[in-house]
């Protein structure tokens, strides 16, 4: 279609405006973390590093950060094991119910977060509490791992699909035993997909809030929960904003690295 110059300019304008709308809110959070005016009125009235200093010394935010990292690492570890096992099973074997496995893996993020959240909440209350296991870090990890499996699964499955089918057979033909083939052929091929999937799982866990709300219990605060519970306190606003700025950096960086590793822009989230 031969677009007129005006049409191209209009489309380019839409793109530029769209990208601006996408990034301005995020940049504004970063900018406001240095804004001297504590009500964030526009335009900013001056520059200060005070909020970052206070955020750094805020005990609540520090504890929440630690909890988030612990939950993220544990959930990522579980997701890495379960996701890659499922990906290998679905890729390597033809069996009855193969589609169902893929469906089951996606279901926890396909259903609304609130449904997943209250389902886990109801189950923990009926099953775990009678056993003496209360809500806390453990229940958060179980919840996060459940919906993180899908990103590892998607990344590893996509990589296995691209892996030339003959390579593993060639390795066997050359006399390698299955563990050797796995060690020298399969693992190097999927390693970066595992790293990418793991980073994305961590990022997903790190900023999750809905499932966390219903699985954390009163004593456990992840960073997003801490932000959420401090949003309505005006005197905490600048500190909340600095923590939010940190959260943007921490959740976008692993994704950036993962994208470089997996050459799949959506990182398996779609």
């Amino acid at each position: 279609m031969r677009l007129s110059r005006t049409a191209r300019a209009v489309l380019g304008g839409c793109m530029a405006l769209g990208l601006a709308v996408v990034y301005v809110p995020l940049l504004l959070v970063l900018l406001n973390s240095f804004n001297a005016d504590r009500s964030f009125a526009w335009p900013p009235s001056g520059f200060t590093g005070e909020w970052w200093r206070r955020a750094w010394h805020s005990a609540g935010a520090r504890d929440a950060l630690l909890t988030s990292v612990q939950a993220g690492l544990a959930a990522t570890a579980v997701a890495l094991v379960l996701g890659s096992l499922a990906a290998f099973a679905v890729h390597r074997h033809r069996f009855f119910g193969r589609q169902t496995v893929s469906f089951l893996v996606v279901l926890p993020i396909a259903l609304p977060g609130i449904v997943t959240g209250i389902a886990l909440n109801a189950a923990f209350r009926t099953v775990l509490e009678p056993l003496g296991i209360g809500f806390g870090l453990f229940t958060v990890v179980v919840g996060h791992a459940t919906f993180c499996v899908v990103v590892v699964f998607n990344n590893v499955a996509a990589r296995l699909r691209r892996l030339a089918p003959g390579t593993e057979e060639a390795s066997a033909d050359l006399g390698a035993r299955p563990p050797q083939t796995f060690r020298y052929v399969t693992l190097p091929a999927v390693r970066s997909a595992l790293v990418a999937g793991g980073l994305l799982a961590f990022a997903l866990s790190f900023d999750e809030i809905v499932v966390t709300t219903f699985t954390a219990g009163p004593g456990t605060q992840t960073l997003p929960i801490w932000i959420y519970s401090n949003l309505s306190r005006p005197n905490q606003a600048p500190v909340v904003n600095a923590v939010a700025a940190l959260l943007i950096a921490v959740s976008v960086l692993p994704v950036y690295i993962a994208q470089r590793l997996s050459s799949d822009a959506a990182g398996g989230r779609l």
């Binding site: 279609m1 031969r2 049409a7 191209r8 489309l11 380019g12 839409c14 793109m15 990208l19 996408v22 301005v24 809110p25 995020l26 504004l28 959070v29 406001n32 964030f40 009125a41 526009w42 579980v78 096992l85 499922a86 290998f88 099973a89 390597r92 074997h93 089951l104 893996v105 279901l107 259903l111 609304p112 449904v115 209250i118 389902a119 886990l120 209350r125 791992a145 459940t146 066997a172 994305l200 790190f206 900023d207 809030i209 809905v210 709300t213 219903f214 932000i227 959420y228 949003l231 909340v240 939010a244 959260l247 943007i248 959740s251 994704v255 950036y256 822009a265 959506a266 989230r269 779609l270």
Partner: protein
């Protein structure tokens, strides 16, 4: 390489851990939730009483407040989907067919990366922008306008913002696949740009828009954080469910069936239109 028996054993070894986890932790939980929708709550102790009843579902269907909120949630989800489709079409068209080839990859990354920035922080960023002295009012004031403030409009805006990448990506993929010859043929047959858009481009991206709408629609239906942050007094299904969880779990369970049923209906409709194949 191995015997059939060994093959089976290996498959079982691979499948057992993820399936046991997902079945026990997830399907089990969903089953508990579903069952508890048929139980009831002791109004004094707020303990769940295991007596079978369909009262909860009857209430969900008959109490006017629930119906109003369900309809409002549905309208918000539809509005978000429409806004996202209208925003995604020109952007995806530019990315796929106007921008120079070397820029395309960078644009895709630029559009998709914010998808991973914290959901909560993005909603919070809009709360700051929509505030009385925020950026939006500061920009609108010289034009003699006033921003929407916190409320239903703000919820639609923020949800559309949050889910936009989910719409752009499939539309971009569909436009990229569209052969240039189709557009040239249309032009050779005498169609103007608008006619080509109407009769060639739009039909080609329709399945992709439907596929994207699955995300925008279902994510909006289940949302309850954004609406608490920028919604003012607006209530959506998610809020009502969340507020009932500790007080009346059976009622919350019955209510949560509403978004699930709506999503399943929508998925079935979209699937019938053949849009899920393009995902």
């Amino acid at each position: 390489m191995t015997t059939r028996h060994g093959e089976r054993l290996r498959l079982a070894g691979l499948l057992a851990p993820p399936l046991i986890w997902l079945a026990a932790a997830y399907l089990g939980s969903l089953a508990v939730l579903f069952l508890s929708a048929f139980w009831t709550t002791d109004s004094f102790t707020t303990d769940v009483v295991r007596i079978w009843t369909t009262d909860n579902f009857q209430q969900v269907l008959t109490v006017p407040v629930y119906r109003t909120i369900a309809l409002r949630t549905l309208s918000i989800a539809v509005a978000v989907t429409v806004v996202d489709a209208l925003l995604a079409l020109p952007m995806a068209y530019f990315m796929a067919r106007v921008a120079p080839a070397r820029l395309r990859g960078a644009l895709v990354v630029a559009v998709l990366t914010p998808l991973w920035a914290s959901y909560l922080v993005k909603a919070y960023a809009w709360r700051v922008m929509l505030g009385e002295h925020g950026l939006i009012n500061a920009l609108a004031a010289p034009l003699g306008l006033h921003g929407p403030g916190y409320g239903t409009t703000a919820v639609v805006l923020v949800l559309a913002y949050l889910w936009l990448p989910y719409m752009i990506l499939p539309v971009y993929a569909a436009l990229e696949r569209l052969p240039e010859q189709h557009l040239e043929a249309s032009a050779d047959l005498g169609a103007g740009a608008w006619q080509t858009l109407r009769y060639v481009v739009l039909p080609a991206v329709r399945p992709a828009v439907l596929a994207g709408s699955v995300f925008t629609f279902s994510l909006s239906l289940g949302d309850y954080v954004a609406v608490q942050i920028v919604g003012g007094k607006t209530q959506m299904l998610g809020n009502v469910i969340a507020s009932q969880v500790t007080l009346d779990l059976p009622m919350a369970a019955a209510l949560s069936a509403v978004p699930v049923v709506l999503i399943v209906c929508y998925l079935t409709a979209v699937r019938r239109a053949g849009a899920l194949d393009s995902l």
